[in-house]
Amino acid sequence: MTGWLGSLRERAARITPGTLLVRGAAFVFAAGALLVAFPGEILLWPGAAVALVACGAAPALAPRTRLTTMVLFLAVGGWIVATTTYAEPVTWARLATLACLLYLVHTTAALAAVVPYDTVVAPAVLVRWLARTAVVLALTVGFAVASVVGVRVVSGQAYLVAAVAGVLLVAALAGLLTLSRRS
């Protein structure tokens, strides 16, 4: 026990500010995504919010494991429950926030996974990473707004919008992946 504690203390002493920032961000984004996704009534249950925040620590503590994927799907599940079982409305702001937070969890966990906890990280690494992420987030917000507005325009034919948008998205991704393989 003492050896384990000593090892933990030693590892904690080796943590660098850069990696602490990345993992802290992963925790904040994951906790935020879960809190945004789950319905308000569930959050009012005693201990539910604390449990969700605790789940948000998983991508920060173990970014190289499948826990990050599980947290992402947990948030998506919470969103589905909130919008179906609890009939909460799908607003563009909440939808865009959740989409951005989920992507932030994914990308900060990806960075935390390739940078060991005791790495001295040059500030330029974080700045460049943030700049690239900002582009994706801006596109996401635009896409969310366009989708919500688009559904209203086609007067409730969400099925059609989802199918068309999904097929276009998958086709675009597949095409880019193929191109990148050839290059």
Partner: protein, 443 residues
């Protein structure tokens, strides 16, 4: 360090997908499938950043691996000195890398500030990223800084390169010379030129006195003042200047004591090497010829020479000094008095831990060499004395060693502990006196 590959795809060029890549594809696939099945457009919106981010990241992917290199401007330093190490990582690819993760492995006696941490730095396309580190060599010797291992990360953490290694960087840390000075004359010179004022009259610079002129004296030696005063021709007599050969014999049969590097405790080998460097520097600075010899399995030898070049050669030679191992000893042909000049002053640096060392020193003295033994055993060294018989065994061992030292003194070998400057003056005086005394030789 990588967060796991997804099964070998794409590793033919040294880049493999990470778990984040698989996660992005999985999230997009599941959410779009659910959206298509249930008709929920919001799930497509949730999948959108993953698809967009992955597509943007993989727009351009690197094909070449980053190339690391270690360099320094201070490949030759003195132990305890600081030196700079530059880690250069070249990215020959037209695609920029998010970061390169660099980890440097260090030998025991080298400290580099923050080098026990990996470093992450970005590398632009077709450029070189440089990380400057400063370190200290804590002990003399040849140290290999490195190897350096490196991983490149590209496409927003979706691709990571296989490990790239860089050859270690050799650093030579010369021993810090212990201060040494010896004012005494050499016991016997090898030539009629040199720096030492001999005890014999001759052509030199040191004034020995004024005496009456005798046939053979040079006219320029006439002291006219004394000649005018005494009305008889007098000349100034001088002592001859001689050079000498010094052989430093390093006993490396055994290592004892724990080395603490510069500023710490000195082991036997530390004392031996630093003392040898100090003595060699002193005599070479005075113009003498210095030779080096190792008493161990390898029986390495450095031929006598003079000057600064020889001093640098001696330092280089000392870098390779290492304990020979207890059971090994040089063969008779590889080591012996025949390797030493008859007039050389032999300074043996020995911890006298082995009977073979004592026998070797006594053998050199018997062969007519002028031998001085310098005891390099650290005074603070205490053998392990655990157990009831430990202290007694320690006392017996010390008495036995004192007995060996006494026997050597009976053979005419002065034994003196190493104490830096002036530590050999007393014994050199004795050796010089012995050398000038008439000898009774066996016929």
């Amino acid at each position: 360090m990588a967060d796991g590959s997804l099964g070998g795809a794409g590793d033919e060029d040294g880049w493999v997908p990470t778990r984040a890549f698989g996660r992005a594809i999985l999230v997009v696939g599941v959410l779009v499938l659910l959206a298509a099945l249930t008709g929920r457009y919001d799930l497509v919106v949730l999948a959108a950043p993953f698809a967009l981010g992955t597509a943007l990241s993989l727009r351009r992917r690197p094909a070449a691996l980053p190339a690391p290199e270690l360099s320094t401007m201070d490949a030759r330093i003195v132990e305890g000195d600081d030196f700079a190490v530059r880690v250069s990582v070249a990215n020959p690819d037209p695609v920029a890398l998010d970061l390169v993760l660099v980890r440097l492995w260090l030998p025991r006696w080298v400290r580099v500030r923050d080098a026990d941490h990996p470093y992450a730095a970005p590398v632009a396309a077709g450029s070189v990223a440089e990380i400057d580190l400063s370190g200290t060599a804590l002990r003399w010797g040849r140290h290999d800084v490195g190897p350096l291992s490196l991983h490149g990360v590209a496409c927003d953490g979706l691709l990571v390169s296989l490990r790239v290694e860089c050859e270690p960087l050799p650093i030579k840390a010369y021993p810090a010379t212990d201060p040494f000075r010896a004012d005494e004359a050499m016991p016997r010179a090898a030539g009629l030129v040199g720096q030492h004022h001999s005890r014999k009259p001759g052509e030199g610079g040191e004034l020995a006195g004024v005496r009456e002129f005798s046939p053979g004296d040079r006219l320029r030696r006439i002291d006219w003042r004394v000649t005018l005063r005494t009305r008889r021709v007098h000349v100034v007599s001088t002592l001859s200047d001689r050079d000498a050969e010094v052989v430093l014999l390093l006993d490396v049969l055994h290592e004892a004591g724990e080395s603490g590097g510069t500023g710490g405790a000195a082991s036997v080998l530390d004392t031996t090497v630093r003392a040898a460097a100090g003595i060699a520097e002193h005599y070479l600075h005075r113009g003498d010829r210095v030779a080096m010899l190792e008493y161990g399995f390898r029986a390495r030898r450095l031929r006598p020479a003079t000057g600064r070049r020889q001093y640098l050669t001696v330092l280089e030679w000392l870098l390779d000094a290492k304990p020979a191992g207890g059971a090994d000893q040089p063969s008779t042909g590889a080591f012996g008095a025949h390797l030493l000049s008859a007039n050389a002053l032999v300074i043996v640096l020995t911890p006298l831990l082995d009977q073979r060392s004592a026998a070797m020193v006594a053998g050199l003295a018997r062969s007519g060499r002028f031998v001085v033994a310098v005891d390099t055993l650290p005074p603070s060294l205490r053998p392990p004395t655990d157990g009831a018989w430990g202290p007694l065994a320690d006392r017996v061992w010390r008495m036995s060693r004192e007995n060996v030292i006494g026997l050597l003194r009976e053979h005419g070998v002065p034994v003196v502990g190493w104490a830096g400057a002036g530590s050999l003056d007393h014994v050199l005086r004795d050796v010089t006196r012995l050398a000038s005394a008439p000898k009774v030789g066996r016929r």
